[in-house]
C-alpha cells in the first residue's frame, strides 16, 4: 500500500468536502438538525418516561450518524468522480483497489467523528446530555463498531454504483434508512416482533446500540460487543468480496468505462 496514493485520495476528498455545499448540507447540517429535533423530543421524554430513556434516544440519534455519514461519504465520494467524469483519470493511475477503499475508510471515519464531536457538544450544552455517560471505553467500542459497519455498507453501495452507474445513485442517500428500523437504533430490539427480531440480530449495529442502552441504564453489557465485532468482520469480508465482484463485472461489461457519462 502506497502512503502517497492514500494521501492523494485524502487531499482529493478534503478539497471536495470543503468546497461543496451539498456535502456540507448532507454531512453537517442535516445530521445536526436531526440531533436538534431529537434533542427537543428527549427533553419532553425526560419529563414523561424518564431521563434514562431520553438519554438512550438522543445517544442513539447521535451515534446513528456514524453509520449514516461513513456510508454516505464513501458512496457519494465515488459519485463525485462519476459526476465530474474523473473516474477513469483515477483508475488509470497506479492506485489499487485496496488503497482506494482504505482512503475512503479513513476519510469516512474522520467525517463521522467530526460530526459526532459537534453533535455531542451541542447535546451537552443545549440538551444537558453528556455522550461520555455511555462510558469512555464503551463509547469507543460502539463508535468503532458503527463506523466499521458504515464502511462495509458504503463499500456495498460503491460496488452497486460502479456496477450500475448513476441510475441507482439515490441509494447512496436512502438505502441505509431502509435498514434503520431493523437495527433497533432508537428502541430496544425486544420491542420488535418476530421475524424482525431475529433479522435484527444479524446486523452488528443492533448489538452496538443495545450495548449503548445497557451501559446508560447501568446494566451489564455481556457479549454484545463480541457479537458486534464478529458480525462486522463477516460483513466487511462479504462487502469487499461483493465490491470486487462488481468492479470486475463492470470492467467486463464496459459499465465502468461508461461511468464517464
Amino acid at each position: 500500500m502506497s502512503f502517497h496514493r492514500v494521501k492523494a485520495m485524502f487531499l482529493h476528498e478534503l478539497h471536495i468536502t470543503k468546497r461543496s455545499y451539498e456535502v456540507f448540507n448532507d454531512l453537517l447540517l442535516y445530521p445536526l438538525f436531526n440531533v436538534i429535533v431529537f434533542g427537543f423530543m428527549t427533553l419532553y421524554l425526560a419529563g414523561t418516561t424518564g431521563k434514562i430513556v431520553a438519554d438512550q434516544v438522543l445517544a442513539a440519534m447521535i451515534l446513528w450518524q456514524m453509520i449514516n455519514i461513513t456510508q454516505y461519504s464513501i458512496a457519494v465520494g465515488c459519485l463525485w468522480d462519476v459526476w465530474s467524469r474523473n473516474l477513469t483519470n483515477l483508475f488509470i493511475t497506479p492506485i489499487t483497489f485496496a488503497e482506494y477503499l482504505f482512503s475512503y475508510a479513513i476519510t469516512g471515519s474522520v467525517k463521522a467523528i467530526v460530526v459526532m464531536i459537534l453533535a455531542s457538544i451541542l447535546s451537552f450544552f443545549v440538551f444537558n446530555f453528556n455522550i461520555f455517560s455511555v462510558g469512555v471505553f464503551q463509547l469507543f467500542l460502539v463508535v468503532a463498531n458503527l463506523i466499521f459497519f458504515g464502511f462495509s455498507f458504503g463499500v456495498v453501495m460503491l460496488g452497486l454504483i460502479i456496477r450500475f452507474g448513476t441510475k441507482i445513485q439515490a441509494f447512496a442517500w436512502g438505502l441505509i434508512s431502509v435498514f434503520q428500523p431493523l437495527m433497533a437504533v432508537i428502541y430496544p430490539v425486544s420491542v420488535l416482533p418476530e421475524p424482525f427480531k431475529s433479522i435484527a440480530h444479524l446486523f452488528p449495529p443492533t448489538y452496538a446500540f443495545e450495548a449503548m442502552r445497557k451501559s446508560l441504564a447501568g446494566i451489564n453489557i455481556g457479549m454484545d460487543f463480541v457479537y458486534a465485532f464478529l458480525l462486522n468482520f463477516v460483513f466487511l469480508f462479504l462487502s469487499i468480496a461483493f465490491f470486487r465482484a462488481m468492479f470486475i463485472k463492470s470492467k467486463v461489461t464496459g459499465q465502468f468505462a461508461r461511468l464517464e457519462g
Binding site: S2, H4, R5, K7, A8, M9, L11, H12, H15, I16, R19, S20, W80, D81, S84, R85, N86, T88, N89, L90, F91, I92, T93, P94, I95, T96, I248, K251, V252, T253, G254, F256, A257, E260
Partner: protein, 302 residues
C-alpha cells in the same frame, strides 16, 4: 524496442464484436495515430489499453510486462488525456495537479506542478476551479495532467479538440519535442487528418473493429490514385464541364473555379484535352491525395 505490444485483442458486448482480434505494436519514441470513424472501435481499444475495460481475449504488454499482472508498475509510466474525461471541477487546477502528483508518487511535486503549468501556459489559472475554465483551458489542464508523471507511453484521445489553432499548433510542437527529448511514445486519436499527417510516424486504421491498414500516413495516402486539380477558368467553363462529363470525370464548380478529381497519371492528358477545346485558365493547383482522402475512401467503402 517495442514499448507496447497488443496481440489478438478482442472485445465483445453480447453478440456485437467491438474490437476483433487486433494486433499492433508501438516502438519507443514512435507516434502512432489510431484512426477510424465513430464506432469503429478506437475508444474501446484505448479503454482496454488503459485497463478500464477487460478484453475477452488477447494480451496487452507494456515494456514487456502484462498489463493485467503488473498493473501498478506499468501504469506508473503510462498516462492518458481525453476531451471526454475531466478532472474534479470543484478543485482548482493546482489542487488537481498536486493530488494527481501524489497518485504517481512524483518527487519534487511543487516544482513539477509549476513546470508543467508553465509548459501548458496555465500559470494564470492555477488557483481557478476547473468548473470556471474555458473548454480550451480544460483541454490544456488535461494534457498537463497527462504529462505530469514523465510518461513513457502517452495515450491521447482527441488531444487538440476545442483548442484555438495557435494553441493546437503549440501542443503538436510540444508533443514532437517530448518525443525528441524523452523518447516518449504516443498513441493518438484525432479527427483532424492534417494533424495526424503532421505528427504521426505511423497510422493504424480501424474499421468495424478490425485493423484495415497499418502504415505511414504517406504510404496510406499513396494508395489513393485520385488527385484534385483546381483550375480558375478564364474562358470556357461550360466547355470544361461538358468535357468532364463526356470523359466521366467527377468535378465541382465554385464560381470561376472548377475542381476535378482525376488520377495523377492522366492529368497531362486532361490538361491537353482542355487546351484542344480552347479552354484558358489563369491558375492551376494540383492537390495530391491526403490521409483524409484515404479516410473517406475506407469509410465510404463500408
Amino acid at each position: 524496442m517495442d514499448v507496447l505490444q497488443v496481440t489478438g485483442l478482442t472485445k465483445k458486448f453480447g453478440s456485437f464484436t467491438a474490437v476483433d482480434t487486433i494486433s499492433f505494436s508501438l516502438k519507443e519514441g514512435e507516434i502512432l495515430g489510431l484512426l477510424g470513424r465513430n464506432g469503429a472501435g478506437k475508444t474501446t481499444t484505448i479503454q482496454m489499453l488503459l485497463g478500464v475495460l477487460t478484453p475477452n481475449s488477447g494480451s496487452i504488454h507494456y515494456f514487456g510486462k502484462d498489463l493485467q499482472k503488473h498493473r501498478e508498475t506499468v501504469l506508473e509510466k503510462v498516462n492518458f488525456s481525453s476531451t471526454y474525461t475531466n478532472l474534479p471541477w470543484d478543485l482548482t487546477v493546482s489542487e488537481n495537479l498536486t493530488y494527481i502528483s501524489y497518485l504517481y508518487s512524483i518527487q519534487n511535486r511543487k516544482e513539477r506542478v509549476g513546470k508543467i503549468a508553465h509548459i501548458f501556459r496555465l500559470e494564470d489559472v492555477l488557483n481557478k476551479q476547473v468548473r470556471d475554465l474555458s473548454a480550451g483551458q480544460i483541454t490544456r489542464v488535461n494534457l498537463a495532467k497527462a504529462l505530469l508523471n514523465y510518461p513513457k507511453v502517452l495515450l491521447l484521445d482527441e488531444p487538440t479538440a476545442s483548442l484555438d489553432p495557435d494553441v493546437a499548433k503549440y501542443i503538436r510542437e510540444f508533443l514532437l519535442d517530448q518525443r525528441k527529448q524523452f523518447n516518449v511514445s504516443i498513441i493518438l486519436t484525432s479527427h483532424n487528418m492534417a494533424e495526424v499527417e503532421d505528427v504521426c510516424d505511423r497510422v493504424v486504421f480501424i474499421e468495424g473493429g478490425k485493423i484495415v491498414a497499418d502504415d505511414t500516413p504517406d504510404q496510406l495516402a499513396k494508395t489513393i490514385k485520385i488527385s484534385h486539380v483546381e483550375l480558375m477558368v478564364k474562358d470556357g467553363l461550360k466547355r470544361t464541364i461538358e468535357y468532364c462529363s463526356s470523359k466521366e470525370i467527377s468535378y465541382r464548380v465554385k464560381g470561376r473555379f472548377i475542381v476535378v478529381d482525376i488520377e495523377e497519371q492522366i492529368i497531362p492528358d486532361f490538361l491537353r484535352g482542355l487546351m484542344d477545346i480552347g479552354v484558358y485558365y489563369d491558375e492551376i493547383a494540383i492537390e495530391k491525395p491526403t490521409l483524409e482522402d484515404y479516410f473517406l475512401q475506407v469509410t465510404h467503402k463500408s
